[in-house]
Amino acid sequence: MTSATALPTREARRAGDHRWLRFIARRTGRLLVSLWVLMTAAFLMIHLIPGDPVRVALGPTASAELVEARRRALGLNDPLIVQYIEYFRGVLTGDLGTSIQTGLPVAQTIAQRLPATASLAVLAFVCAVIVSVPIGVAVAVATRRGRARRLELGFASGSIFVSAIPDFLLGVALVSIFGVALGWLPIAGRSGPESYILPVVALSLGPAAVLARIVRVEMLSVLEADFVRTARAKRLPPWRIYLSHALPNAVTATLTLAGLLLSSLVVGTVLVENVFAWPGLGSTIVSSIQTKDYPMAQATVLVYGAGVLIINTIVDAILAMLDPRTTVAEN
C-alpha cells in the first residue's frame, strides 16, 4: 500500500472520530445542564416544604432553642442566594450535609449503601438483556409474515401479562414461593450470591418482557428491509442474515428503550429493596421521608437523579458508536 492511499484513510477515520467527539461533547453539555437543574430542584425541595422543615422534622415537642440551633447549623437563616451557593459548593466538594436524625454526614451513609443498590440494578439489567434479546429475535424469526400465529398470540399475551406485574408484587410472590413455601432461597438481606437471585428476578422480569417485545417488533420490520433482501440475494446462511445484518439494525430502538428501562430499573430498586430488606439506598430514602430527615432525603434524590442522567448520557454515547447515522442526524 502506498502512502498516497493510506493518508486519506487515516483522515477519513479522524473525521469520523471528530464527529463522534463533537456529539459526545454536546451530550456532556446537556448532561451538565440537566445536573444543574436537578441540583437546583433538590435545593428548592427543602424550601418548598410547607412550614419550617426543622420544626416538622423535630416534632412539636422540641424546644424553640433546639430548633433555632438546628436551623443555624443547617444554614437556613442565611439569605436564599447564599444558601444556594453554599449548597452547590458542598455538593461539588462531596459534602451532602448532615443527617437531622443521626447527626452523621449524609455522604458517609450514601457511600456505604450505594454499592448494594448499584450492583443489584446492574445485575438485573444485564439479566434482562441477556434473556430478552435471544427470545425477541427467535420469536420474530418464527412469527414473521404471519407464521406461527399461536406462538405470536402466546408471546404477546404472556409478555403483556408479565410486564403488567409490578416488580414489588413479583418480589412478594417470589418470596412466598421460593422463600417461604419451598425454603430454597433467603427472603431478606444481602448475604452472598444466592441472596441476589430473588431481587434480581423480581427486578428484571418485567423489563425483560418489554424488551423482548420491542426486539421482536424491531426485528420484524428490519427483516422486511431491502438490505435484508440484498443479503438473501448474496445467499448468506439464515443465521448470518438474522444476527449479522438484521440485529444490529434493530439495536437502535432496542437500546434507546433499554436505557429508559435501566433508569426506571434503578429507581425500581427502591420498592424491591423494601420487599427484601436490602441494605441499599432504597431503604434509606424511604426511612428518611418517613422520619423527615430532609438532608438525607435531599441527597438520596440527588444521587438517584444523577444516576439516571448519567445512564442516559452513556446510552446515547453507545448508540452513537453503534449506529453512525445517529451523529449525522443530529448534525
Partner: protein
C-alpha cells in the same frame, strides 16, 4: 361515541371493558355492603390463615382480609383517578404553554424535556419529600410525577394539530391564540388524550400501591391495596395470601384500565397487525420430463413459471405462466406497467420469493442446474457465485450499519472461503472495477456516505465479487438522476462486453430497455404478451406494446399537448378477466378476445406474440385515444 363503540366491538376491548366495569362496581358498592364488617375486630382470631370463615385469613386485629381487599377498591381506584386527573391537568397546562406563551413557552418545553427523563417513581419520591406522607401528599406526588410525560404528549399532539392547514388558516385569519386553542386544537387532541389518560390511570394505580407499600401513602386507620400488602408482608411466613391477595387486586385493576386504553388506542388508530391472509392450499403441479435439453450456450431456461400468493378470496397469481430463455452474453429486457408481474418474475428466478408466496414452473434451469430439484445448499452456492442481483433503490438496499467494503467482502468470505484480508482486497478491487474512485478509502465508508449512483455501482460491484453468469437488474436506474442512469447503463454494458455475462433488465421505461437490450419481453397481467428483438420494436405487433411505445416522449413530442398514456387501468392480479387480459383496454378487442386467452406463439424466426389480432392496423392511433383520456398509467 365512535371510539367507545369501536372499542367494545373488539374481543379484547369487550373483555377489558367488562373487567373495568367489575372493578368500578366493586369500588362503588363494596364499602357500602361490607365496610362495617371489614372493620370488625376479632382478637381471638388474629393473623389466621385461610379458613371457611375467612377465605384468605385475617390481619393483626383479626379483621377479615377478603372483605378488606374488596373495600379497599374504592380508595385505591378513586385516588388513582384523582392523581391521573392532576397529571392530565398539569400536563395539559404545560403542554399548551408553548403555543400560548411564545418564547417563554420554549423554556417550558425545555424544562419538560429534562423532567421527562426521570422515572415517575423518582419524581413521586421527590414530591413525597415536599408534601409528606398521607393520602393528599401521595395523590399530589403521583399526579405531579405523571405530569411531564403528559405534557410531552400534549406538546406532540398540539404541534401535530397546529401545523394542519385549517389551524394555520384560522391563525392567519387573525383569530386569537386562546380561541384557536379551544375551538380547533383541544377538540382534536381530546380523543388520544383520554385514551392515554386511561392507560395512565392503570399506571397511577400501581404507583399508588407502591407508595402505600413503602408506607408513604395511605396512613392507618385508612387502608388501600398497597397498605394491605405492606401489612401482609410482615406476616408472610404465617399467611402469604395476606400480601398476595391485595397485590393480585392491584394487577387486575391496573390491567383493566390499561387494556381498555390499549384497546381504544388500537380501535382508533390504524390496525397495525392486520389479519394476515391465510395461505390457501396451493397444489404444486409438475409435468415430468417436459423440459427441453439444455444447449451449451444456455444460461437460463424457464417454462411456465407461476408465482402464487394466498388472497382474501382464494389464491392470487401475479405471474401466470412465463416462458423464455437467455443465452450467454445476451441482454434481455422485461417491460411492463406496475403490477404486470415483471419484478416478481425476477425474484422468482433468483429464488427470492418468500413465504407465503409459492413459485412453480415446468422448467427453471440456471446454468444447467434444475433449481426446482436437488440440494438447496448446492443451489445457494451456485446462485451466490453465478447470479448477481441489482435492486431498484440503492438507498435502502445496503445495510446502513455496516461498512461498504465489509458488505462486499462477506460474499467472498462466505462463498469462496477467502480470509478477511483477501476478501477485503477483492472488495476494493471490485469497487475499482465499477469505476469508484479511491476504492480503498470508499471501502471503509458507510452507505450513507455514498451518492445514489455510487451506491448502485457498488451494488453491481457486489454482484461481481463472484463470477456471475447472469445479472438480474430490477429497475436499476429508476431511483437515479438521468445522467447517473447513463453511467449505470454504460457500466452494465461494459461488464457484458468484457465477461460475456447475460443480463436480465427489468424496467417500466421502454427507452432504457431500448438503449441496452438485445431483446424485449413485454409483460401484461402476469404473462409475456410479446417477445421481439429491440431492432424490431418499431414493428411491434401487440396493441399493448404499440401503446407503450406511443407513450414514450421523444424530441419530436409536442410539449403543448398532454403526454400520451396507455388508456385504461392495469389489471388487478386478484381479478384477471377471462380471455385476453388486455381486451378491456384494447381498441382491436372483439368477442373472441374476451372469451379465449391467446397463447404466446412464434410469428417470425425471432418474435413471439400473444394476440388474436397481432399486427392489424389500429382503428384510431393509440396516442389519439390516449390524449382523450385523463387517466394516467405509470
Amino acid at each position: 361515541m365512535r371510539a367507545v363503540r369501536r372499542t367494545l366491538r373488539t374481543p379484547l376491548g369487550a373483555a377489558a371493558a367488562i373487567l373495568l366495569a367489575i372493578v368500578l362496581l366493586t369500588a362503588v358498592f363494596a364499602p357500602i355492603l361490607w365496610g362495617e364488617q371489614a372493620a370488625v375486630v376479632d382478637t381471638d382470631d388474629i393473623l389466621a390463615g385461610p379458613s371457611p370463615e375467612h377465605p384468605i385469613g385475617t390481619d393483626g386485629l383479626g379483621r377479615d382480609l377478603l372483605l378488606r381487599v374488596l373495600v379497599a377498591t374504592r380508595l385505591s381506584v378513586s385516588l388513582a383517578l384523582v392523581a391521573t386527573l392532576v397529571a392530565v391537568t398539569a400536563g395539559l397546562v404545560l403542554g399548551v404553554a408553548p403555543l400560548l406563551l411564545g418564547r417563554a413557552g420554549r423554556a417550558v418545553t425545555w424544562f419538560v424535556g429534562i423532567a421527562v427523563a426521570f422515572p415517575g417513581l423518582l419524581l413521586a419520591l421527590f414530591f413525597a419529600v415536599i408534601f409528606g406522607t398521607g393520602w393528599l401528599g401521595a395523590t399530589l406526588a403521583i399526579g405531579l410525577a405523571g405530569a411531564p410525560s403528559f405534557a410531552r404528549l400534549c406538546q406532540t399532539l398540539v404541534a401535530g394539530v397546529a401545523s394542519r392547514d385549517y389551524v394555520a388558516a384560522a391563525r392567519v385569519g387573525g383569530i386569537g391564540r386562546f380561541r384557536v386553542l379551544f375551538r380547533h386544537i383541544l377538540p382534536n387532541i381530546g380523543e388520544p388524550l383520554i385514551v392515554n389518560a386511561t392507560i395512565g390511570a392503570g399506571a397511577a394505580l400501581l404507583s399508588f400501591a407502591g407508595l402505600s407499600f413503602l408506607g408513604l401513602g395511605i396512613q392507618p386507620p385508612a387502608y388501600d391495596w398497597g397498605r394491605l400488602m405492606m401489612e401482609g408482608l410482615s406476616g408472610i411466613y404465617l399467611n402469604p395470601l395476606a400480601a398476595l391477595a391485595p397485590g393480585i387486586a392491584v394487577v387486575i385493576a391496573g390491567l383493566a384500565f390499561n387494556l381498555v386504553g390499549e384497546a381504544a388506542a388500537r380501535a382508533l388508530g390504524i390496525e397495525s397487525t392486520g389479519i394476515v391472509a391465510r395461505l390457501a392450499a396451493v397444489q404444486p403441479r409438475r409435468a415430468v420430463g417436459a423440459s427441453a435439453p439444455a444447449s451449451p450456450d444456455e444460461i437460463l431456461a424457464i417454462r411456465d413459471l407461476t408465482v402464487t400468493f394466498p388472497g382474501q378470496e382464494g389464491p392470487v397469481q401475479p405471474v401466470r405462466g412465463v416462458s423464455f430463455s437467455l443465452r450467454r452474453g445476451e441482454v434481455v429486457g422485461i417491460v411492463g406497467e406496475s403490477g404486470s408481474g415483471k419484478s416478481l418474475t425476477a425474484l422468482a428466478i433468483a429464488q427470492l420469493v418468500e413465504e407465503p408466496g409459492v413459485v412453480d414452473a415446468d422448467t427453471l434451469r440456471f446454468v444447467g442446474a434444475d433449481l426446482l430439484e436437488g440440494d438447496p445448499a448446492d443451489h445457494r452456492r451456485l446462485l451466490g457465485n453465478s447470479l448477481a442481483m441489482v435492486f431498484q433503490d440503492p438507498m435502502t438496499s445496503f445495510n446502513p450499519t455496516k461498512r461498504m467494503g465489509g458488505q462486499l467482502a462477506e460474499v467472498a468470505t462466505h462463498h469462496h472461503g477467502m480470509s478477511r484480508r483477501e476478501a477485503h482486497d477483492r472488495a476494493v478491487d471490485r469497487l475499482g472495477a465499477v469505476r469508484i474512485t479511491d476504492p480503498e478509502r470508499r471501502a471503509r465508508q458507510y452507505p450513507h456516505e455514498f451518492s445514489g449512483g455510487m451506491r448502485q455501482r457498488a451494488m453491481i460491484g457486489m454482484g461481481l465479487m463472484g463470477s456471475p453468469k447472469l445479472i438480474i437488474a430490477d429497475e436499476p436506474t429508476t431511483a437515479l438522476d438521468v445522467t447517473v442512469q447513463q453511467q449505470v447503463l454504460n457500466l452494465l454494458r461494459s461488464i457484458r462486453d468484457d465477461d460475456d455475462v447475460a443480463i436480465l433488465l427489468i424496467s417500466h421505461d421502454v427507452s432504457v430497455i431500448a438503449e441496452i437490450c438485445d431483446r424485449v419481453l413485454v409483460m401484461y397481467a402476469g404473462r409475456i404478451v410479446e417477445d421481439l428483438p429491440v431492432s424490431e420494436l418499431s414493428r411491434a405487433r401487440h396493441p399493448y406494446t404499440r401503446a407503450l411505445l406511443a407513450a414514450v416522449p421523444d424530441m419530436q413530442t409536442d410539449l403543448d399537448r398532454p403526454l400520451a398514456t396507455v388508456p385504461g387501468r392495469p389489471v388487478d392480479p386478484a381479478h384477471v378477466p377471462a380471455g385476453c387480459a388486455f381486451a378491456p383496454r384494447c381498441p382491436l378487442a372483439d368477442a373472441h378476445c374476451r372469451a379465449v386467452d391467446p397463447d404466446l406463439v412464434p410469428v417470425a424466426p425471432t418474435a413471439r406474440v400473444a394476440c388474436w389480432h397481432a399486427g392489424e392496423p389500429l382503428p384510431t392511433p393509440v396516442a389519439e385515444v390516449a390524449r382523450d383520456t385523463e387517466e394516467v398509467v405509470a
